[in-house]
Amino acid sequence: MSANLTPALAALAERACSAAGTDLDTVLGDLRDGEPHERTPPAVRAGWSALDLHPTTDQQEDA
């Protein structure tokens, strides 16, 4: 599931998820594949979707 993460980022993410009482595969399954899971910490979900809250200059340039 964490195939496209660099090993260093995967290790960091695994530690953070573990400390939050969940695991990385569950979180990635939720965020990437749209399988909602209550074990995904709301803060991780908020960070994932923050970009969608506000059109940034980057998005305006892309459009």
Partner: protein
Amino acid sequence: MSRALFDLGARLRAAHTGRPVPVAAYGPALPPTNALAVTVDHDGEHVYVNATDGTTTLAGTDRDGLTALADLGATLGPTHRTLVVASPRDVVTLAALARAYPDEPAAPVVGWWDQRLDHPGTGAVHAVASTARLRWVLGVHPDREREVETWRTWLGVTSSGPHALLELARRTAAGSTLPGLLDANATDSAAWERYGQRLAAGRPWWARDTRIDAALGLVARSHAVEWFESLRLDDPLVAVAAAHDGTVVPGRVAACDDAAVVVEADRTLSRLRVDAKVTAWAGEPVNASRTACLDGRVLAATIGTDARLTITVGGLVRRPRGLAPGDRVTLRPGRVDPFMQANGRRLMAGGYHRGANWIAGRGKPVARRGEVPLDVIVAAAGD
């Protein structure tokens, strides 16, 4: 932990899409002014400098490196130029080189850049990696974001050396600039003018600060940090992230009258201390650019038996118009006014030049006892 998880979510999104994820809606740096981009390398014995102004590229070792900077226009003139470097460490290396060859025409300019580096928001020095991190997060381990090469790859910059630094700086500052940041340009210009006047009056650029200059310089640096942090909270995406470390507190108005407003926070997470100046806007953190609907001080912050955090804001500057129980608001620390800061520094300078001021080296400090919050003592003990 909440903020760390928020950052992780953005980082995972970047890794998933293979694109940088914006963490700021506005450009967090002023567009470079007449910029000089410089790569700096050193082996403990020599410093190797490679610099460009965008058209001409010059290189040199040690003294010749400073000569290259001067040839590209890094000399004392009517207006300052922006130095673009990979990291603040490069400025430190350049400053050490300048002190080794203080008579070089570029040396005093490097000394000024070294001073301005300590002022967040400055347009005088643009450290590419640390500034880009204010705008995007990448799908890599955070440590790798400290490397310019990582940014070059993720932002698709094909040039290399100082040209790549210039391109990265332009991209980071592109688009709408963070509102209010232009004030930094006036501050830089004033600092450049004052620096030039002192050198013209015969003060060596490498001379140590006087006690008064050191004290005022410390205050100016501290003010710059406070001002820039305050300004950044007006960026919607920055405010969204700050809601996860308690710097801004979204919630719902629980009670409201002319004397006080009680806000029930969404989470038991707040850095707004009792007596802190706060302001609020209507809506969610993402509505950060809205006009303030509430200005006052935190009178109380309590957690009830229902485990909900309520923050009471009193000492209101004006009646809280248009607010009613049930309304969504977001609290943040009071905005820092750069003009008030400048006035404060002027008053301090007046005090330092007057009478028996011990900071200015006249008289002895008078011992005074005061109350220090316990968390400050604990933090000091930790240091």
